[in-house]
């Protein structure tokens, strides 16, 4: 039966995606390209929409929520997966509301008012069947995919507004967004880049060699020299793994030190992050936050005799509070960290913030 084939094919794809997510997390800190993950997730969700069996919007949302929960459980630190799931859920809600004919605007604003008045009215809303809902949703997801593909270019287009000539720019580790940003600016302006290598994975080395190919004057410094060199730096431009709901960051370890040093010298800290990295999570205690990898990166097994008596830690991420950040540059423009909550409300529906509370 074609239907069964489709289903098995679909579940196969989902399984392979999940196993890939799990696998990349175990790798020695080679953080997967977030844009790729976002694209793959969205493509998978589109496939689910197209191939799964659902009658109305509510069922579709339930299916997507279930798959989303499995995907985020496979790799909790890869937040783009959850973000894309929430975006698709929002798309579904929007398309449903459009098909029903009600305007979307009033539902979004004045959530406090909505809390007092409507309450249960959204409960049975998604049970209606619309013939064109599937096509509309798939079209909207396609738009989302095109948007995803253009994010890096959108961000790099803004480079010349922020970098003037003869500047010294500092960055840490490797971010493809920042790389594209700097390369775009280098076409017209001459500046100097200092890259902190970000031990123990030393991704800064890759970044430096890649920047050199475009003839950008690059210097590689060890992490310990960040504060020493900061007095000569004009701007700090970094990428991040996730942007949190309060405007804070979850970025590679060492970023918090960099941000504090920049604050001390009153150097602006600019974060280049596409919108799909914005996550509705708030930072809670640092402990529930962190992802660790094997400590042999830090203290190798060759130090055998002391290994058993020593605790070694190798955290992957750092939390940077929003007070230390000057500007976010994303594909929709530049924003202050205090505005992030507003952007978030435009991207995600408040009920989708927790994927676990599905009906």
């Amino acid at each position: 039966m074609p239907g069964a084939d489709k289903e098995t094919d679909l579940s196969e794809r989902i399984e392979s995606f999940l196993s890939e997510l799990k696998r990349c997390g175990r790798g020695a800190g080679s953080l997967r390209d977030s844009a790729e993950t976002a694209r793959e997730t969205t493509a998978l969700l589109r496939r689910i929409t197209a191939q799964a069996r659902w009658g109305n919007a509510g069922e579709l949302m339930e299916i997507i929520r279930k798959e989303g929960r499995r995907m985020t459980a496979a790799q909790p630190s890869e937040t783009t997966v959850g973000n894309m799931v929430r975006r698709v859920l929002k798309i579904i809600r929007e398309e449903y509301a459009r098909s029903r004919g009600s305007s979307e605007e009033t539902d979004q604003q004045e959530s406090l008012h909505k809390l007092l008045t409507s309450g249960g009215s959204s409960e049975d809303n998604f049970r209606q069947h619309f013939a064109h809902l599937k096509a509309n949703v798939i079209e909207a997801i396609n738009e989302l995919l095109t948007e995803l593909e253009g994010t890096t270019d959108n961000i790099s287009m803004q480079a010349l507004e922020h970098i003037h000539s003869n500047e010294v720019i500092m960055t840490i580790g490797r971010s493809r967004t920042v790389e594209a940003f700097l390369k775009d600016a280098a076409r017209k302006r001459k500046f100097h880049v200092i890259v902190a290598e970000c031990a123990p994975f030393c991704q800064g080395h890759e970044m430096a060699t890649s920047l050199c190919k475009e003839d950008i004057e690059t210097t590689v410094i060890p992490d310990a020299a960040i504060f020493a060199v900061m007095s000569r730096v004009n701007k700090v431009i970094i990428g991040t793994q996730t942007v949190l709901a309060n405007g804070g960051l979850r970025a590679v370890n060492g970023t918090h030190t960099l941000a504090l040093a920049a604050k001390h010298h009153s150097t602006p800290l600019i974060v280049c992050a596409p919108m799909f990295k914005l996550s509705p999570q708030f930072p809670n205690e640092e402990d529930t936050f962190h992802k660790f990898v094997s400590p042999h990166e830090v203290l190798p097994f060759t130090e055998g005799e002391i290994l058993s008596k020593v605790n070694a830690h190798c955290p992957v991420f750092d939390y940077v509070p929003p007070e230390l950040i000057t500007l976010f540059i994303s594909n929709i423009g530049g924003n202050a960290p205090s505005y992030i909550y507003r952007l978030m409300s435009e991207l995600y529906h408040p009920e989708d913030h927790e994927l676990y509370t599905g009906k």
Binding site: H205, C212, V220, T257
Partner: protein, 536 residues
């Protein structure tokens, strides 16, 4: 004036034999033998002679006149300044030493200045001896006044003037004269640091020295190699190794005829010090130790027998090490242990011998604490500290400096070591220390710096750029997962690697400095320096 006439005759005789001697000298130099002082002076004279012949012709009578003038000046000065002291040996010494030097110097003023300086030094020394013997207030105050009012503006140290070609030429000439090999810089230097040297560990400075080295004492050669390869690292270790090497040098030293131990030994030490600073720029503690030794050597009275003098110097070096390093660390431990309470979580950075000593002592005194060792690439010195602490039985945690924000919420105190304490209160230490102090301040964790007083220095500095040390840039290269990204960094035109060794921490990040004189705030460093100077 019979004396000076005799001297004049002497020098004229010297000039006639000059050509013969010059050939000998050149021969000796080619063979690599050490030139005696006279031979070196001959060489210098010959060079100056050539230069002078090109410019203008001065007759011998002028030279004689200037010699007379110089020798007249010399005896008169000691006569006025030290009436009650041994005036006899002093002017003899002055004129004996300055007549071969003053002869045939094209610039009059130079010879005069030299003579004046020599005379001044002699009177100072004589007056100090007088102080020990009888203590005459009037005479002693004068020598004290003279160094102050005649102190020239401090010259910039050579090692931060690499971008000045004139300074480089001067250094090259000086090293050639001392027969010390000049070490060449390596690799592309980041433009911000073009005024500093950058050496490679793969080109040791001993490549150009012939084996066996006759000019530089072998223990000094060994020491220089150990410095340049990083085998001996750390402020205290380097100073102690230096002092031990000097003990060996003094042991093997024998005064050449017609020379005084006090002056000749100091001159012998100069090429050694140049060599060591070519291997690795001297640290502040080493500089202070050298100053102390030179002072002690020049204070040896001239009638002291050689064996006696050598024994005295050895004792003096031993007592310096004992007082300033060993006993100082005991004193600092006593103070620091008061600051460690049970249940503390102490953060240390890198490998500081003093901080390790404090922690081991505290552990022996049954304090309950655990230690977090923070380390950084490329030196990874923290592993050494980790080994020492674990051997003692202290509970340790180990992280890299990029994980600092993760680990700091657990920490109750930060103990840091220092390389030097500058006169404006800044702490100069291993690169990364300022970062730790910064983040600790952000988390409101107290930062305590432990430093002996012999590391205090009179320099001032506000950033980590003007005076620093650049280590071998190849250390930053690392191979991960079989890929070495920076392998061919030399071939890429726009890529630079920066491997700093030191950085300065502003005093507002440091809460307390523990020294052997007590616990002081960072800003009291110039007070301690003043107290030390007054004592000496």
């Amino acid at each position: 004036m019979a004396d000076s006439d005799g001297r004049q005759v002497d020098s004229i005789n010297h000039s006639t034999e000059e050509d013969v001697k010059l050939q000998e000298v050149v021969q000796a130099k080619c063979e690599g033998k050490e030139l005696t002082k006279e031979e070196k002076q001959r060489l210098r004279k010959e060079k100056k002679q050539h230069k002078k012949n090109k410019k203008d012709d001065r007759g011998p009578p002028e030279k004689e006149k200037e010699k007379e003038k110089a020798s007249v000046l010399a005896p008169s000065k000691p006569a006025t300044q030290s009436p009650a002291h041994k005036a006899a040996p002093v002017p003899v010494n002055a004129s004996a030493s300055e007549s071969p030097v003053a002869a045939e110097k094209p610039a009059k003023s130079k010879a005069e200045q030299r003579a004046e300086r020599r005379a001044r030094q002699d009177t100072e020394r004589a007056s100090k001896q007088g102080k020990k013997e009888g203590g005459q207030q009037s005479a002693s105050s004068k020598p004290k006044a003279t160094p102050n009012e005649l102190q020239p503006v401090k010259r910039l140290p050579e090692h931060i003037q690499v971008d000045d070609p004139a300074a480089l030429k001067k250094l090259a000439k000086k090293l050639e004269r001392q027969q010390v090999p000049l070490r060449s810089d390596y690799g592309y230097k980041v433009s911000l640091f073009s005024h500093l040297h950058q050496y490679s560990r793969k080109n040791p400075p001993t490549q150009q020295i012939s084996i066996p080295a006759t000019v530089i004492h072998p223990s000094i050669v060994r020491l220089g190699l150990q410095y340049s390869q990083g085998i001996i690292a750390g402020s205290n270790a380097r100073s102690v190794a230096l002092l031990h090497a000097f003990k060996q040098v003094i042991q093997d030293y024998s005064t050449p005829p017609n020379e005084e131990l006090s002056r000749d030994l100091v001159n012998k030490l100069s090429p050694y010090i140049s060599f060591l600073s070519q291997c690795r720029p001297l640290s502040a503690s080493m500089g202070n130790a050298i100053k102390h030794i030179k002072k002690e050597i020049s204070n040896i009275p001239s009638q002291c027998k050689e064996e006696e003098a050598k024994r005295r110097l050895q004792e003096c070096i031993d007592s310096y090490i004992n007082e300033k390093i060993i006993l100082a660390s005991e004193a600092i431990s006593k103070y620091a242990i008061e600051k460690i309470s049970d249940g503390d979580v102490i953060l240390v950075y890198g490998c500081s011998s003093l901080v390790n000593h404090i922690l081991c002592e505290a552990f022996e005194k049954q304090r309950k604490f655990r230690v977090i060792v923070v380390d950084s690439r490329p030196r990874l010195e923290g592993r050494e500290a980790l080994r020492r602490l674990v051997k003692k039985g202290i509970r340790c945690t180990y992280v890299l400096i990029s994980a600092l924000s993760y680990i700091l919420p657990e920490v109750s105190k930060v103990f840091l070591g220092a390389h030097a304490l500058l006169a404006n209160g800044y702490v100069m230490s291993r690169v990364g220390t300022s970062q730790i102090a910064l983040v600790a301040k952000a988390y409101n964790v107290p930062v305590l710096v432990c430093c002996e007083t012999y590391k205090f220095c009179e320099r001032v500095q506000t950033d980590s750029f003007v005076s620093n040390e650049l280590d071998d840039p190849d250390d930053l290269i690392v191979t991960r997962n079989g890929k070495t990204h920076l392998e061919n960094w030399q071939t890429v035109k726009s890529l630079g690697l920066l491997n700093l060794v030191y950085d300065v921490t502003p005093p507002d990040f440091v809460d307390l400095v523990i020294t052997d004189l007590g616990m002081i705030p960072c800003t009291s460093v110039p007070v301690v320096l003043r107290v030390k100077n007054v004592d000496q």
